[in-house]
Symmetry: C2
Subunit: 270 residues, 2 copies
């Protein structure tokens, strides 16, 4: 199986799990379920759950058994997109080519859909068919990436323009982007029962990949580090983080997929 | 120690833990921390964490060891208050005699403060000085009370006026109020390592108490069941739920505090 075949196979599993998790029902909260599903499926590239599934695999767990954990990361990511799009945040009317959640369902429902996706992310981890001790470790990792030192802290810095220096922008990206990609990798390793050093190495790899990903994003959009330091420096940063990511993979076996995916994400043109 | 002395002693522990958890720091997310603390302290009566600490105690755990779990429930409750007050939800400008969170900090920060409190609730559970297996059980209970079948589902029903029949209003109150009070009790028992039947009995007691609490609220405010079915029927419902709660306590020893607190909450005048 080449890299893209494996990627597509993981992605298909993720789509199936997500679609089956919130099946429409004739109850009074069904409108909320619909609002959650609207932004959840179809989604984006599913990079985070794919990374989680691959780390589970190279650490010795059947990817199917890691699916609820992998999808929990996607639930959390989707909540952050819905809230980031709100008028009081980035005020985006569109997301992935269709009206954003609050445009389609109203602001109140969009806030609740995000809130509920965060709660359901933790519920998904708690339902994974893995030992309870590993479910606990995944909950701990996820909560760390979700709170003050993760996406909430990062979005706050982003909203409050603390990212006008390279140091401030690095802090913002570490919290807003790198923490959750790091958590996705760490949760895959933890779900597989890997020891804490291995889990930490997976998280560090994901954080480096997340920074490379963000710098590449900045280069493509002409903002962030590209606007602040220029395209050449931004390209160097992408390369530096990518090399960090490769080096961190030396702690693992069977890393062809992760190396190829890292290269693909760092060199992507869209 | 009489009931109120014990209540006040629990409450003092909760205040101390909450104030110490989010200590101001000179970092870029400090404004978010301040917004969280603004609604968190001073707070309300702290009924939920007090119930959690007492269930921990009667199930054999030092209340101090249950503090992070008890306070996690208060963090989750506080997040729900901040989001419920938003203009796109209930649009309340005041909360506990001061400007509500979004009036003081702006809507974007208020949404993030709520989001972050939810994440930090799970992080708090994960930090409790109890066996990891019990931390896991507390995470599972908390996520159940936070999602579709809990406060998010309940707030959605409330916003969408599905509560115009007695059945609809009962469903709304069960999700919006009873689920989290039930979770507070269940998490206290689970933190103490109680078996699943005991945890379920604690949850059922909390849910009955939560419904009695809500019916009493309706009677005092003249809305909800009082407006729908009249004050006499609402009083009967409070009494019925209170009796259910007492009966569920028969599964536990040393329940004087809980019986007195139940009576106090069901008969309160404010």
């Amino acid at each position: 199986m080449n890299m893209m075949e494996r990627y597509d196979s993981y992605r298909a599993k993720v789509e199936l799990w997500l679609a089956g998790r919130f099946v429409p029902a004739q109850d009074q909260a069904d409108g909320l379920r619909q609002a959650m599903l609207y932004t959840l499926t179809p989604g984006g590239k599913r990079v985070r759950p794919v990374l989680c599934l691959e780390f589970a695999r190279i650490c010795g767990l059947e990817p199917d058994d890691a699916l609820p954990v992998a999808c929990a990361v996607e639930l959390l990511h989707t909540y952050s997109l819905i809230h980031d799009d709100l008028p009081c945040m980035d005020d985006d009317d569109e997301r992935r080519g269709k009206p954003s959640n609050h445009v389609r369902f109203g602001e109140g429902t969009a806030v609740l859909a995000g809130d509920c996706l965060q709660a359901e992310a933790f519920a998904a981890v708690c339902d994974a068919p893995i030992p309870e001790a590993d479910r606990y470790r995944c909950c701990r990792i996820l909560s760390g990436a979700a709170g003050l030192g993760g996406i909430c802290g990062g979005q706050f810095m982003d909203l409050n323009d603390t990212d006008i220096t390279a140091e401030g922008l690095t802090a913002t990206d570490l919290c807003k982007t790198a923490a959750l990609i790091g958590a996705a990798c760490a949760m895959g390793a933890a779900a597989a029962g890997a020891d804490e050093d291995t889990v930490a190495a997976a998280r560090d790899f994901g954080a480096a990949l997340g920074m490379a990903f963000q710098c590449r994003d900045d280069a493509l959009d002409g903002d962030g580090f590209c606007a602040l330091l220029g395209p050449e420096k931004c390209r160097e940063m992408t390369e530096g983080y990518t090399q960090d990511a490769y080096a961190l993979l030396d702690a693992f076996d069977d890393t062809d997929f992760l190396r190829q995916l890292t290269k693909k994400l760092a060199e992507r043109e869209e």
